[in-house]
Symmetry: D2
Subunit: 394 residues, 4 copies
């Protein structure tokens, strides 16, 4: 296996292991997008007269075959490839010989990996939005099933005013749909074409067309000037992780509510047996582990965001190898969010409110009573408040 | 001074101090917005038949006078007020007697403080955007003055390819304008009317109109259902702090570049004397403190974001007193960002690139030479790369 | 007011404001320690023959007077001083003329401020430990009052096995005492004498004695080599904030328990009226605000730690102005911890467990029953577990 | 495969996947320690008359064989095991039948996993200390090789005062040894025996001896009361990650220095070819990737700490499934630190300072000159400072 920058010197094995890190494993999910961006790049080279139609055809066919083989699990990016970009160029050159070496004209790994990453993020944002939507829909269904069941509305974990399942679940559904809209807006930073910026300073002496790759790949704009591309590393990633953190926060708080409602003392809800787990020592237990892990994962999501912001922090401009480390927290955050969004709809389908157990303290109507005094007697609210307070003090 | 919820029991002084915290100090910046939202609320009460035209006039006039007196510095929210909302109601009642007590009908401190906070954020976002724009403009001016000066383009803190002041400063200007756009998008979460949600469960028995306050205050939508309002606490704040963190990160990295360029060994830039400071012990020193603090403040901005996300994390639904703590990191993040944005334009005006000191290593043209081989001889890039590498090895 | 490094150039007012930041306000708490360290420094200069006995006496008397005046509130470090070190030297020179200028021989603000900071931290750690101890003692008293009251022991927020107030409160008391021990261990990093390192590279040509200041100020060791001093900035601070974060986490979890126990549905505890607060709209409410704020402050404490670690992160060696920013999160973390520790003993004194409300579900004894089968019948635990599980399934 | 708590109900496959998470993969590193703790537990049961000598022998032999087989890679904890504890009990029962089911008497997964984790941490702390020591030793060797080479001492990234390789490297070596001492102190929280606390509330009806397992496993104390055990979850982990964060911060700053010194403009050091890597597009480049990744990993280490603190934050007392999530950031932080410590000694062995390139600006001696005036002429330092400043202004 040759490294793209191999010039003959020995490379310490430990150095390869330390520098490649977990990149090879992480890069597998980018292969599909790297293939697509590489084909667009080859087409651009052809359109600019830098690649013959025959070479374009060979490269396109070979890349397509390599991508399909990867999708079928026939090869994986491995440690000895160093990273996915190197794997792709090596496989291409194995197939095509010197022609494979024509593909890297006018690009660097810096813009190549960023193009693949943005195509990946573009797609995953839609998956995340769909997942968030499905959770909101599951809450809507819960409302259809049990919306009318009364619930105490809490402030300070104290019964405060009358509420209901429709208000409780509807609040979460609304916030999740707000999160989905926040996710949608992350596409703005994602939709910038990095190709043509190469290592971050353009491609002197090579008349590439950024417009060709932009339209082929569906980016909204070319990121200009070329120096902005590497400066922007981590920003779209961070915004996506920020919105993921909000999603995880919202479902984490939903989980906190359900864990509370599932306690023996509240007993407001039952959970389906297959969504609870047991204890190794206490035979009677059915624990709401799924919801506890959802709550716990909200901490992980925030850490992914913090890590991402910290990686790029204080760096001088231009590419640094530190930026490679952005992938791990990004993928970790995405994966835990997708897994959480997938488990929630079936889990919510099993939530049932125990109408007969839910007891509203009579004092919960105090504010409404004060309101009634205002509406009926026209007295100032503060006076009504004091009268009702007096009543409940007794 | 009476507390809104005073029902006669003694309140331990230490408890007041601990629970009020620094709220009184922080709330001063919200008084203006609380006055505006309170007037809109009074007008709504009047429109709904819950406040007579005469009482509306009294309340509007009194609130206006109270707000103007605050703007003139004639009174401040103090510890004994507990918070700004209490201060306002107390001052109003002092002026108007029982009529002042009519204002709190159909609202709670929960939606009141949130309305003021969102009006404040709406305005401050525009200030932040203007500040970011001014820094970008200062970079444009630097480009006009010295854009043509060549600079090495760096990757891995190594000279990589030719760049220039226009590319260097232009990259930052572009990213800052991207940040300004990110800031603009925070208005989506800010533009939701919380009024009418009261403590988080609406206003039973009081026929208030959320549409009346919404149009009066220029909110885009009413936040529905009422339970979503308190669930959303911290989300607009966090998004604003997230975008502030990106701004601070970008200017922090700009500062890192300038600190490096200002080193004796680079000596690429001179800084104006009034933007450097001295040493208490080394008489020869002129230090780039302003830029070091900008870099350091990027750490603070990230901590403000982390704190905000952590405060709301894992809480069950409904208002909790924890939410009061959101103001401190929000205001801290906003203030340091505004101060940083204000100092940057004059600081950048004084940056001068020492053309004669900036030395590009000849090898910096290696990629361009390889490109030329590709363009002229039509050989694969990888072969051109190896030929040029061979040349520079010698 | 002259700045220590003033060499005649104008200093932009905005620059002063930005660079001084909130330093002047923060530095007031360091004046006492700066005076002590300055006197020790003067005594060392005298012992090394660099200050006459007469000058030593003048400086010592003047510093003592300045410190006492500050303690009486007669002067404050203000913005125009830039920082506490400058204030001190200026006041000294006002009193003594040129003699005041002798004090700065063999030191820099870099080691001066660090000496004051470490003396401050040394003292505050003991205050924090005492505060933690007082909370643990309050828990012990609660145990003495109500230790025998049975409580369900929870896992997964589910009743799991029998517990009691003694076990519940005793767990927290033990962990708090563990935190106090953790706090004590922070003294190791604090107890290193920075004096004599000056700007970070020693005091060439001046034969100062680090041992003289070390013994006078009670530091355990001289920090060696001189370059380690500035490299270590932020580490003792971070360790202290880390231990504060653990304290706040423990009391935050204690608060979570009490908020839960105080809910209408649990009703396991009553809280004293003066430690609850009311609602502006719901006249019946008594809210556990103190405990909610304690819980919320655990988020703030973690942010203080994160900020501190981020400030020093990635900096090259040697002093940077960024380090000035360490004081704000350090003091914020200390202050909120001390305030929280002060409010807890009286708050805990008022906690009363409602014995008659606390209901243990019969199944809570299932593990004990399985254990009994093992002990009596000698069957494997897993078989006993299955038998008891079968019993509770019915 | 049977789950420990299996009582016959179906378990949704997705729930298993979500709840087990990556536990199975992570738990492999704990098998060795779980075997050791399980044998100690069996010996204790025997000593307490709860396990016959014959059963003890069977269990000890079987566990030993299972552990050895795992060490030889013959089996791995897999998803269907759910976790390592279940895998162990299942394998034991496969080998021994009902006798295997005797082992779980008097313990829960809660104390079992914690015992294994603490034994693992105890060992890994020593590995980390050795790794830190090896880096400090490599710095000592660099000092022996090139200590006398002069270097500018920097403050504010400006040449400030004369320094040298011995002072530069010695500062880092001292701080690393301070970190090693910090690591050593994490053993205090690790050395507490959790066994006997079971699910967190002890083992009613089973007369277990915590002292037996404590002495066998070498814990310093039994953690008392039993409720403190689960409350303490995450605290030893967090302290270890805190000290790891300091280590990574120190080596990250060392890396920052070397990246700067390796720049074309400084050119103070050369790095060995095998510790630099190339560019995919710029044939001339040799990049200091290893040091960039070390710097970048300091961000990851801080995120691991933040995640750990956030996971336990605000939880009520008693075990929660959230605590399972502590392992991932703990292991991540440990692994990146060990890998970084392993790569540093060979990397430092290749660092060579280019004596002839290192240029100290003459003004670097200004403070020493001022000191000389003080020492020779006896004038106040501030006057000497002004005279030297005047000289350099010209």
């Amino acid at each position: 296996m040759t490294r793209l920058w191999d010039k003959g010197q020995p490379l310490d094995e430990r150095v390869l292991r330390y520098t490649a890190g977990e990149d090879h494993a992480l890069d597998n999910r980018l292969v599909k997008y790297d293939v697509a961006a590489s084909i667009a790049h080859a087409e651009m080279l052809n359109a600019c007269g830098l690649l013959s139609p025959q070479d374009l055809k060979s490269i396109r066919d070979a890349l397509t075959a390599i991508g399909e083989a990867h999708a079928r699990g026939e090869w994986l990016v491995k440690l000895e490839h160093e990273d996915g970009q190197t794997a792709l160029e090596n496989l291409l050159t194995e197939k095509l010989g010197a022609t494979g070496g024509r593909l890297h004209a006018g690009r660097s790994r810096n813009d190549q990996v960023l193009a693949a990453l943005r195509l990946y993020m573009r797609e995953i944002v839609e998956e995340l939005r769909a997942g968030v939507g499905a959770v909101a829909d599951a809450l809507d269904q819960l409302i259809r099933r049990e919306g009318a069941t009364p619930l105490p509305g809490y402030t300070h974990t104290q019964q405060a005013m009358p509420s209901s399942v429709v208000l409780w679940a509807g609040g979460y559904a609304a916030e999740l749909r707000d999160d989905a809209e926040g996710l949608r807006m992350t596409q703005r930073r994602i939709a910038k074409n990095p190709l043509g910026s190469a290592a971050g300073y353009g491609t002197p002496n090579l008349p590439v067309s950024r417009e060709e790759t932009r339209t082929r790949l569906g980016f909204a704009v070319n990121q200009e000037p070329v120096t902005a591309v590497q400066l922007s590393r981590g920003k779209a990633e961070a915004q996506l992780l920020f919105e993921i953190a909000l999603v995880m926060q919202d479902v984490g708080r939903l989980a906190s509510d359900l864990i509370l409602f599932y306690s023996h003392e509240f007993a407001y809800v039952t959970l389906p047996a297959q969504f609870t787990t047991g204890s190794s020592i206490m035979p009677q237990k059915r624990n709401p582990d799924v919801f506890e892990l959802i709550r716990g994962h909200s901490a992980t999501a925030q850490a992914c965001l913090a890590e991402t912001l910290a990686i790029t922090s204080k760096l001088t401009s231009g590419y640094h190898r530190d930026l490679q480390l952005l992938k791990a927290p990004l993928f970790r955050g995405i994966d835990l969010c997708l897994a959480t969004l997938a488990i929630l709809p079936p889990a919510l389908d099993g939530v049932h409110f125990n109408k007969e157990r839910i007891a509203l303290d009579p004092s919960i109507h105090a504010a409404a009573e004060a309101n009634l005094l205002v509406a009926k007697e026209g007295i100032p609210f503060r006076d009504a408040y004091r009268r009702i307070a007096e009543k409940y003090r007794k």
